[in-house]
């Protein structure tokens, strides 16, 4: 579906809802009857991006699956803050097994449903970046290569937050974590390390791979909806800031996620069977400083004098993404919304 | 070889006996020297140790003859069946042959027969036919059935034919009293 383009709408499709859009075009989150699959009372930190991303994604999947959804969860913040005995925040059938096996457990659920002929029920697995790109990677790759009928959602906040902010395979360069401290000749996480899981997923040539962000709800919901309808192994990598681990003002969770998109550091795209088929263009390109500076984990780059060399290296990464994914809107002045195409 | 042991077990089973077959446990690697054992008895078999004092010994690959001590446990009244196109005398087993009852040692070109009958150089079936003829512990009919059960279809029939051929060949050499010496009394 392509978001309708009505340029003179007050807020187009940038806000969660928009009373001027026809109801079908509003987000799931804008609906009074949204499921709130991850409900109030969970123990996530103030401004938790993962709590937000999880509700966004699962609510959308619930709608797309007509509320026939089962979720499997890897160990991690999401699991801990949502299900400490005696209270659960989940409204859906939900299973937590281990840190490293969520993809396999989900594959098992899917297999059981298939054996029982329950094609109506859809299966999602979800985990943080640690559970996905590191300890759960083997099982995830198995899920991909077997093309099991599971939608895997990775909530990427770039470190092991539940254990107190240690480096993961998706911690960005120069970021400070407890295991990549901001000291020494090249403070923070080393450049040239880490892995790009969406690309790895694409290398498995699975039916669908996408990146999404809590800062672009329409885009995220469109992708989750599409993915939920497809069969086989599907992967969505969702960018979720962590106020605690990134040391930023909790109120800035979405703003920072937006800056990650607008700098080009987190490209939004879709791939089918290993090929990129769509991307969401940057609306207002900004330099990486704007993204880095509000975050304590990059504070060491903004001393006196600022570390222009490192900032430049990060800018280079952003520019390469913009180049690779063709993230700038065309010159013809066509409005941003026209390109938000999830056809 | 493992297959051969299994075929004997099946045949024995078809003749209404208890049977047990198992390999000398090794990793499933083709070509490695392998031993396989078979027990048959009128009583249920509980014993799980390897057969150390066989009543019959089939040697499928004569090249092993002088590499290892194959005959250590072979009972004095035991049977020996060798898969070879050579004459006994050429094999330098005279002492051994001397130790065993007359007519308890036979050679048969099982591989050639298999090749002729089945087109494949796998002598298992043929050798079993020989064992049946030599010892009389299992009937040719049971051997045929066992082969048919393990290898349904054409291959089975061809192998059964090979077995029958060797059976007849050896049977013709057996003195009348032979093949009655049943080991079943002390099945170990």
């Amino acid at each position: 579906m392509a978001d309708q383009r009505i340029k003179f709408y007050q807020t187009g499709t940038f806000t969660v809802g928009n009373r001027l859009l026809d109801p079908e075009r509003r987000t799931v989150q804008a609906r009074m009857e949204r499921t709130n699959s991850l409900d109030s009372g969970h123990r996530a930190c103030q401004g938790c991006g993962e709590a937000l991303g999880a509700r966004y994604a699962i609510d959308a999947a619930m709608r797309a699956s007509n509320n026939r959804l089962v979720a499997v969860n890897a160990t991690g913040c999401l699991e801990v803050f949502s299900t400490p005995y005696p209270e659960s925040s989940w409204k859906i059938p939900w299973l937590h097994s281990l840190f490293g096996n969520a993809p396999a457990v989900a594959a098992g659920v899917a297999a059981a449903l298939e054996a029982k002929g329950r094609s109506d029920v859809r299966v999602v697995a979800q985990g943080g970046d640690g559970g996905t790109v590191d300890i759960g990677f083997g099982c995830l790759s198995g899920l991909f290569e077997r093309n099991d009928d599971v939608l895997y959602l990775c909530y990427d906040n770039g470190a092991y937050m539940n254990t107190g902010v240690q480096r993961s395979g998706s911690t960005p360069p120069a970021a400070r974590t407890m295991t990549t401290p901001a000291v020494g000749p090249s403070p923070g996480n080393s450049f040239g390390t880490g892995k790009n899981l969406p690309r790895i997923a694409m290398a498995h040539a699975i039916p669908y791979v996408a990146t999404a962000s809590v800062a672009d709800l329409h885009d995220l919901e469109a992708k989750v909806t599409k993915a939920t309808m497809l069969r086989g192994a599907r992967y969505i990598h969702i960018f979720v800031p962590c106020p605690l681990g990134w040391a930023h003002d909790p109120a800035l969770t979405i703003t920072i996620a937006r800056l990650a998109i607008e700098t080009g550091l987190f490209p939004l795209f879709e791939a089918e069977r290993g090929r990129v088929v769509a991307r969401t263009t940057i609306r207002r390109k900004v330099p990486v400083e704007q993204y880095l500076e509000p975050q304590g984990r990059f504070k060491h780059l903004f001393g006196d004098p600022p570390d222009h060399k490192t900032i430049g290296a990060i800018q280079a990464i952003a520019d390469e993404n913009i180049e690779t994914y063709n993230l700038l809107p065309p010159e013809d002045g066509v409005g941003h919304e026209a390109l938000r195409n999830h056809a | 070889m493992v297959t051969a042991a299994e075929l004997v077990a099946i045949a024995a089973f078809l003749d209404g006996k208890y049977a047990q077959a198992f390999p000398s446990f090794g990793s499933e690697r083709m070509g490695a020297p392998v031993m396989a054992f078979c027990r048959m008895s009128d009583r249920a078999i509980r014993l799980r140790e390897p057969v150390m004092n066989p009543d019959a010994l089939i040697i499928q690959d004569p090249t092993l003859l002088h590499q290892v001590d194959l005959f250590a446990g072979l009972s004095p009244s035991g049977y020996l069946l060798l898969n070879t196109s050579q004459e006994l005398s050429e094999l330098g087993l005279d002492d051994l042959v001397a130790r065993l009852p007359a007519d308890h040692v036979r050679t048969v070109p099982a591989t050639d027969i298999a090749l002729a009958q089945t087109g494949r150089p796998i002598p298992n079936a043929a050798l079993i036919g020989g064992l049946a003829a030599q010892t009389g512990w299992v009937t040719l009919e049971a051997v045929r059935k066992a082969i048919g059960r393990k290898f349904p279809g054409r291959i089975g029939e061809a192998n059964a034919a090979a077995a029958a051929a060797v059976y007849e060949a050896i049977r013709s050499l057996q003195p009348s009293e032979a093949g009655t010496g049943s080991p079943l009394a002390n099945a170990n």
């Binding site: 089962v70 939900w94 029982k116 | 198992f22 390999p23 509980r46 799980r48 150390m52």
Partner: protein
């Protein structure tokens, strides 16, 4: 074995190849492809996992989603799935897993002993040991019933090669018989959109101990359940199979050999032979190692003078594992319990060795723990060599060089 599992109508099977269970799952995958496994719900899915850890994890999901789930593994594979093994029991999922008991490296060794299942004896699974292939067949049928009745996973342990590769006639029950004995799986908890629940919550100090006690309680319930199931099995199949323990000529026995698994067959032959020679020996087979049948063992052994535990495992620095359990069962009784470590890494346990050992024990000459058929020359040389040079190099290699094992040598 595959046929037996198929009779139990599993709905999800997930495996990873490892000797010596591979051929079982190979056959199962073939049967699934041919559609020969008709589960209650109709279908059966076979998943080639990316590891044993993945295989059991897949079954955790499948079981939680209401499917009857099965896998098989051994040795390193069992250890590789350890985390999931604990998790499956913690979540109360009635998965059935065949263990082709095998040693654990290094040195890598593919042959039989009980090191693998022993390593996970406290993982909260029920552990049943089969003496023969016939019993292995029967135990699988009982295992699913037991697991699903208690909400607790079950390992069916059968000795690698000794049973898994032995070829012997087995009486395979009919589908109708099995269906009559094993009803379709009725989950206690289920991932169901119509009745959502949260499975696998985080439990803190306030409730964890209680959760663990309940796991213990489940195992205690299993003690009764196993006995009941054996009786019922006898009624429906006309065959003695399974159960907690099995006594053989222990009535007036002065010495009783205690063991798990296939070696019990050899032991019974030994018992008969020695009885024929007038020696009052008997045999106690432990069928269920977890839960450990303290009562039944105590009941069986309390009249005898000497219990010799023949076990295919070793707790280095301590000795026997099963013998400790037996000692616990006999606490307060004047029964001598001796430990015989035997059959490690596939070494044959022969009647001769057992008889020799029993006679030494009766003569009070058996060391404790006793290592059956241990080649002391090798040990002495190796120890001496080590004393000479600190960096003595790999032990296994030197040992092999000395024993120069060849295919024909019966070890």
């Amino acid at each position: 074995m595959a046929a037996a599992v198929a009779l139990c109508r599993p709905e999800v099977i997930s495996c990873y190849p490892i000797t010596p269970q591979t051929h079982i799952v190979e056959r199962l995958s073939e049967m699934v492809r041919k559609g020969e496994i008709g589960s209650a719900s109709g279908g059966c899915r076979y998943i080639n996992a990316e590891s044993e850890f993945g295989a059991l994890s897949i079954l955790i999901g499948a079981s939680a989603a209401g499917a009857r789930a099965y896998t098989a593994t051994a040795s390193q594979g069992l250890l590789f799935m350890t985390e999931a093994v604990y998790n499956a029991s913690g979540l109360g999922l009635p998965i059935v897993m065949t263990i082709g008991n095998r040693a654990i490296g290094a040195p890598i060794n593919i042959w039989n002993d009980h090191s693998d299942s022993m390593a996970l004896r406290d993982a909260g699974w029920i552990q049943l040991h089969a003496e023969s292939n016939q019993e292995a067949v029967d135990l699988h049928i009982q295992a699913f019933r037991l697991a699903e009745a208690l909400g607790c996973p079950v390992m069916v342990c059968m000795d690698g090669f000794v049973l898994t590769h032995a070829y012997e006639p087995v009486d395979l029950p009919t589908q109708a018989q099995v269906d009559a004995y094993l009803p379709p799986y009725e989950p206690i908890q289920l991932l169901d959109p119509d009745d959502p629940m949260t499975i696998g919550a985080m439990v803190g100090p306030e409730a964890f101990a209680e959760v663990r006690y309940l796991a213990h309680h489940t195992q205690l319930r299993a003690l009764e359940e196993i006995a009941t199931l054996k009786a019922e099995f006898l009624r429906q199949f006309g065959r003695e199979s399974g159960g907690l323990t099995e006594c053989y000529r222990t009535g007036d026995a002065e010495t009783i050999l205690v063991a798990l698994g296939s070696v019990n067959g050899t032991i019974r032959d030994v018992v008969d032979e020695m009885r024929d020679a007038g020696v009052p020996v008997g045999s106690l087979k432990i069928g269920a190692y977890r839960p450990f049948p303290v009562g039944a063992v105590r009941e069986a052994l309390h009249p005898c003078k000497r219990a010799i535990v023949v076990e295919k495992d070793l707790a280095p620095g301590k000795g026997g594992i099963v013998s400790s359990d037996v000692k616990m069962a006999l606490r307060g009784l004047p029964v001598i319990v001796q430990t015989v470590i035997a059959g490690l890494g596939g070494r044959s346990i022969t009647k001769a060795s057992l008889i020799r050992m029993i006679n030494e024990a009766r003569a009070g000459k058996l060391d404790e723990p006793h290592f059956l058929d241990l080649d002391w020359d090798v040990i002495r040389t190796e120890l001496a060599r080590r004393r000479q040079r600190r960096r003595a190099g790999p032990t296994a290699e030197h040992v092999l060089r000395q024993v120069n094992a060849v295919a024909s040598k019966v070890v």
